[in-house]
């Protein structure tokens, strides 16, 4: 590739990754089997007493796990309904990645309370979930899903990139695996932001509308609270507000390239980290948990 070509390539060029601060040459799909961190490995470490999260770390892991779990549940709905077969595969892949991260975080969190990932996922009630409101927002049309994914992937990338430096080795290890995958999610969503914003007038209007719908839930992602601050000071977690500048800059670059404005919608109050959720979560959990709760104690 000539220098002339590289300098013009941004997110619009499918042949290159996302330009950014991440390790975009790393492949999430070429991890040698056996080296990849699996939820089962964490479960084993928890069971054998090799690791045990503090109450604070477990609470924090629960937040990240719930974010990923609820999003996976949302995204999974697209499989067999996407606009193109390639997107059935792509959205399915992102859902799978999120589910993998959720399983790791929940397994680790459960170590503090002697609960398995499934006990946490299937037998907690709405107010016990710690996910932020953005993740439970409905899929809407494809543009809404892309808008949500765009915010999520840029947020998660900044978060996981920093979390790889966590003093908590398990959080760092989960983040190290996740950040490579989320980098692809950024690429995917940014490409679609550009395509939809600059495709047709109809797609542009839908993209603008999609961003407007999800933007009220952006602020909650960057809100600090006692737990996050306490853990950040100890070096185990990342203070949410510290991600904001990079998030704004990088999403701003994509939006500018797409000739879109950052939506100026008022922020919703959120409250997911304290168990206060929107109307949507109840339906998500009702569907997700129904079978497991019909057969309490059963193994699958």
């Amino acid at each position: 590739m000539t220098p002339e070509q590289t300098e013009t390539t941004g997110h619009g060029d499918i042949s290159v990754g996302v330009a950014g601060s991440g390790d975009s040459s790393a492949s999430a799909t070429r991890i040698t089997p056996g080296n990849a961190l699996r939820p089962e490995d964490i479960a084993l470490e928890v069971r054998t007493g090799l690791v045990k999260p503090s109450e604070d770390v477990a609470e924090y892991a629960l937040r990240l796990g719930d974010d990923a779990l609820i999003l996976a549940q949302r995204l999974g709905h697209w499989i067999s309904r996407a606009p193109e077969l390639e997107e059935d595969v792509a959205l399915g892949n992102i859902a799978l990645d999120q589910l993998g991260h959720a399983r790791s975080f929940l397994t680790y969190a459960g170590g503090a309370w002697e609960k398995s990932e499934d006990e946490l996922a299937y037998f907690r009630r709405e107010h016990e979930f710690r996910s932020a409101h953005l993740f439970e927002q409905p899929n809407g049309d494809f543009a809404v899903t892309i808008a949500r994914q765009f915010v999520v992937s840029y947020y998660q990338f900044e978060l996981y990139r920093r979390l790889t430096q966590s003093t908590d080795a398990t959080l760092a290890a989960i983040a190290a695996k996740a950040v490579k995958e989320v980098d692809y999610h950024r690429d995917h969503s940014a490409q679609w932001i550009l395509r939809l914003a600059q495709g047709t007038e109809e797609s542009r209007q839908k993209m603008i509308h999609g961003l407007k719908l999800v933007w009220p839930y952006v602020a909650e992602l960057f809100a600090d609270d006692e737990l996050a601050t306490r853990l950040a000071e100890a070096g185990a977690a990342v203070e949410p507000s510290s991600l904001k500048a990079d998030f704004d800059r990088l999403t701003g670059e994509v939006l500018a390239e797409a000739e879109l404005e950052v939506p100026q919608t008022p922020a919703a109050p959120g409250g997911g980290r304290r168990g206060k959720h929107s109307e949507h979560l109840g339906y998500i959990l009702a569907e997700m948990q129904v079978l497991a709760r019909e057969h309490p104690g059963a193994s699958w």
Binding site: T8, I79, P83, V89, L99, S203, H295, A298, S299, W300
Partner: protein, 343 residues
């Protein structure tokens, strides 16, 4: 946009051209015949008889459609999968099926028909897909039974297709069979877990096996004496074994495996015939098979409607992506021209 016919036939030929065409046709046929007798491979650019092309196009596109429609009964349980591990496996499996559809549509495209046209035919109800997917997936155990029986039958059918005479089809099947084998094992594992679980779980597993057994056996197609196309497909080295032969082998495998599962097959007439050395099974309801094939199955309308809905809802996205790609190309061309001018 790909044209619908990638190899257009000129309208009128001069006498010389006609003679030349006839000669090419004869040479092509001779080459084709040699490939068949050597049990070697035909590639997309090789000459092939029109009927061979048509048969393959029908078979591969139907196979692709089956993968795509086949995503639906399983996608139906992704949101309710009873453990996160099972949810992950199921998602990966349904995603694999979309991938299989993609390879197969690509293989079919090498025969001269675009994916758009094939998709349009499917949605218009003009194309067929495996009628097994017109049965409903009613319980979680159906995820096990579909994997074990339906994917198991598909593997029996498809392993010989890895040697199909048409190169792109055979190669696509190699990869598909590897993934199908994983799918079957995950189905078996689901049933095994249920069978060793609570009485309600075991009952759920047995009920699913009871419902999927006969439809799975019918996936091999009508009995040999009622399968008019089989003979030609075998002569063309597409099909390697007859429907009944494959069905019998499948029954033999299931008999062994169902014991390990601790479940039973809903067929009291399964037996090994010592004379023919073949497994036999009880009578199948071929009237029901024909009814489902004719569009009168439990889920035919539902499955097609879901595909149509996804296709229609996504139309604006595909149009936008195409428009964007065109604009990007034009932009690049403009930049290139400016650079040339500057130089």
């Amino acid at each position: 946009m790909a044209s619908q016919n990638l190899q257009p036939v000129p309208e009128a030929l001069s006498p010389e051209d006609q003679e030349r065409a006839a000669q090419l046709e004869a040479e092509g046929q001779a080459y084709f015949d040699r490939v068949m007798s050597d049990d070697s491979r035909i590639e997309p650019k090789d000459w092939m008889p029109a009927a061979y092309r048509k048969t393959l196009l029908r078979q591969i596109s139907q196979h692709a459609h089956s993968e795509i429609i086949g995503m639906q009964p399983e996608a139906n349980w992704i949101s309710r999968a009873p453990s996160l591990k099972r949810k992950a496996i199921l998602m990966a499996k349904v995603q694999d099926e979309a991938g299989h559809g993609l390879y197969l549509y690509s293989a079919a495209e090498t025969l001269g028909q675009s994916r758009d046209k094939m998709m349009d035919d499917l949605i218009a109800g003009k194309a067929r897909y495996s009628s097994i997917f017109n049965y409903p997936a009613l319980t979680w155990a159906d995820m096990g039974a579909i994997g074990w029986l339906v994917d198991g039958a598909a593997i029996c059918n498809q392993v010989p297709l890895c040697r199909a005479s048409f190169g792109p089809y055979g190669r696509a099947m190699v990869r598909i069979c590897k993934e199908e084998s994983f799918h079957q094992r995950q189905g078996f594992e689901i049933l095994l877990e249920l069978s060793n679980g609570t009485p309600a779980q075991k009952q759920m597993a047995q009920d699913a096996v009871n419902r999927w057994y006969a439809p799975a056996l019918m996936m091999f197609g009508p009995p040999d004496d009622d399968s008019p196309n089989s003979k030609q497909s075998m002569a063309w080295n597409i099909k390697r074994f007859s429907n009944d032969e494959l069905r019998s082998r499948f029954v033999g495998m299931m008999v062994e495996q169902v014991r390990v599962l601790g479940l039973t097959l809903p067929d009291s007439e399964v037996r090994f015939n010592e004379e023919t050395k073949k497994w036999e099974h009880g009578p199948l309801d071929w009237e029901e098979f024909k009814e489902v094939l004719a569009g009168r199955g439990p889920c035919n309308a539902q499955r097609l409607e879901r595909r149509r809905e996804a296709h229609d809802d996504g139309a604006w996205v595909r149009v936008a992506a195409a428009a964007y790609a065109e604009k990007q190309l034009a932009k690049q061309a403009r930049k290139h021209a400016e650079k040339e001018y500057a130089a």
